[in-house]
Symmetry: none
Amino acid sequence: MSQVAYLTPPPGKRERTKVANRQAILDAAREVFGELGYEAATVRDIIRRTGLASGTFYNYYRSKEEVFEALADDGARRFRPILREQFEKAGDFAAYLRGAVLAYFEFIANEHESWQARRPPGERQPHMQVETPEMHRVFEEVRDSFIAAMQRGDAPRVDADYLAASAIAVSREVGQQMLERRPIDINAAADFAVSFILGGVPALPRQEP
Amino acid sequence: MSQVAYLTPPPGKRERTKVANRQAILDAAREVFGELGYEAATVRDIIRRTGLASGTFYNYYRSKEEVFEALADDGARRFRPILREQFEKAGDFAAYLRGAVLAYFEFIANEHESWQARRPPGERQPHMQVETPEMHRVFEEVRDSFIAAMQRGDAPRVDADYLAASAIAVSREVGQQMLERRPIDINAAADFAVSFILGGVPALPRQEP
Amino acid sequence: MSQVAYLTPPPGKRERTKVANRQAILDAAREVFGELGYEAATVRDIIRRTGLASGTFYNYYRSKEEVFEALADDGARRFRPILREQFEKAGDFAAYLRGAVLAYFEFIANEHESWQARRPPGERQPHMQVETPEMHRVFEEVRDSFIAAMQRGDAPRVDADYLAASAIAVSREVGQQMLERRPIDINAAADFAVSFILGGVPALPRQEP
Amino acid sequence: MSQVAYLTPPPGKRERTKVANRQAILDAAREVFGELGYEAATVRDIIRRTGLASGTFYNYYRSKEEVFEALADDGARRFRPILREQFEKAGDFAAYLRGAVLAYFEFIANEHESWQARRPPGERQPHMQVETPEMHRVFEEVRDSFIAAMQRGDAPRVDADYLAASAIAVSREVGQQMLERRPIDINAAADFAVSFILGGVPALPRQEP
DNA sequence: AATGAATGAGAATTCATTCAT
DNA sequence: AATGAATGAATTCTCATTCAT
């Protein structure tokens, strides 16, 4: 009997359900926040969409705010390996930057399409900044790879914190706008963002008048 | 009866009270939104801080949302003249950009003082940072004048929305980080942001190795 | 115009409504606790019976527990002047005791009849002891009048705290039982309680075998 | 396979666990009811304190009410032998009464120790003191034997319910006060209570002027 | 205009109990 | 027998807004 292999017992149905429920709530929250906006969304809205009982929500999260943070944290957690992969496979700073931005845009475009979706167009969501531990780690990772590039002589020695913050901000904002356009053009957005970071306004793709 | 003398109330007195109340509500709202974020803030929180009665709020604003808007307008109203001054003074796009960014950094550095000061010091402050309406309008002002410059041929014709979003994002993030550093160095931050926008990474101020 | 007489303005309709509402909630609570018992009773039950809106409850009390305390406190507050009157008009200790016990039994019998009423018979409510400030004052008043009687030489010098506690306890328990009997016989109950306090078991009224 | 040895579990082991769990739940319930009162206490509070899983509770008791009853029975079971002993030892009603009251005071003084000890020390404790089921049953025991004595001609035939209520009330209140005094003087309290019940105010122990 | 209590829809939350594992 | 997550009815409670004074 190969049972022996499971010195740690295989995750039972219970455990699987727990993970699935946690994810279901996260997914539902992503959709609901996307459709109604964070403020209008209620815990009821979220839980209704999962098909779970209302009380079940509170087995996983204590409030709407907590799901929101978990959502942000979750995104950052899933993105971090992708970012690292880009860093490891990139030849130089420019390649890393392009790879990372492109990967990020793909990531958010795939992100269920529900985040920021089905909302009356023009109704801008107010910007929300949650600083989750995982998001901070992404920031640190970006900054550290910039520092590494600088130390390799691959990039000029500049204020790494400012630069990381700027590059992330540009990516986030352009990415956000990209998602609101139809069709979603990941490559154009990446061209813009990367050119901007690497060369500023003069380097940007020109448009017809 | 000496009442007669005041059948018409002392001129301006009532008017002044009205203006003062309106401003008191605005100030209270700025504080409360800053401390709790738009969502968590309640009308009661705002009105409590003014010392007025709850019903009085509705003599001035119809809803929480309306104060929010008014607050935005207030911010814009205060920032627009500063921006215009920069525009008139500046010779070209680069100079204007520098002036605008500098003015913005000065603006938030001032706001920051009056905000952070009043924030309950010991209290944990883990919640989402929702973009305040004031900031938002300030950004809009910058963006609009930015687009105008482009239309006047002062700046290359590039994707205006992406560019505006990027420049604003850089300004916001660098500005945010600037506020967290001691001492707050507005000029260094502006140097960074403006160089970045105008020339990307290669144009950034170098640091000692 | 006799308006002048109201240097302090006459209580307006608002003020009257406030007092009336507070009392209405108290009355409703007394009924509901009486019918359902403290535990089964909900805030909804109470508020429903007042005809007020649910939110109104919370303008007056923060919880079921708080109304309950207010109820106890209210009873004690209203009883205290009655007690004092008995003390002032009584000739000696025995007369005071009889007067006070009788007054107390009348008081609780009148107490709307709803407290401890319409409940399935035999379903004993668990004893509940709330120590409200006003109840403590009643205790002190009883004890102090005992001490006064002792000092007058009207009663033997004994442990006044134990005695007051005992006399009050006997009155409360006999009173409680009295309310559960039909017909309610205030005099028989008072005879019993007073005899017991003044002479213990041997002094009690005998019953047919 | 060495499993074989335990196909039948070690005899008594399971049984002991069952008894231990049942007792653990009872002990936890005693604590929790004591700290929070019956109403505020939840099954979760009780079960949490045992370290058992919530579902396990229902293997032993069907509801919160049932533990409450069981707790009452537990108290009675522990007190009845003490009471019986007094009865067998005592020559007459007075001696029995004294023995019973003394035993009761000893009982609550002991319970008191184990209760007050575990109570979270700094915590405000404003809530209602609901009669605990144990105390209630203890009172019932006393009352029943009391009535029995009356029926055997050991005591005068008076209103049994009133008398039982009175004697119990006196014992409870004097006992309560006794617990609040330092040092706790069981004998003085018993002297007072018994004298009071047997002879009223005139029979009470005198105090120095 | 100012006041502040009342309103009541609806959101948040609890918790006894069940039941698959 | 033990576990502990799911359930969902029921309850608590909030808060924007109204309106009589």
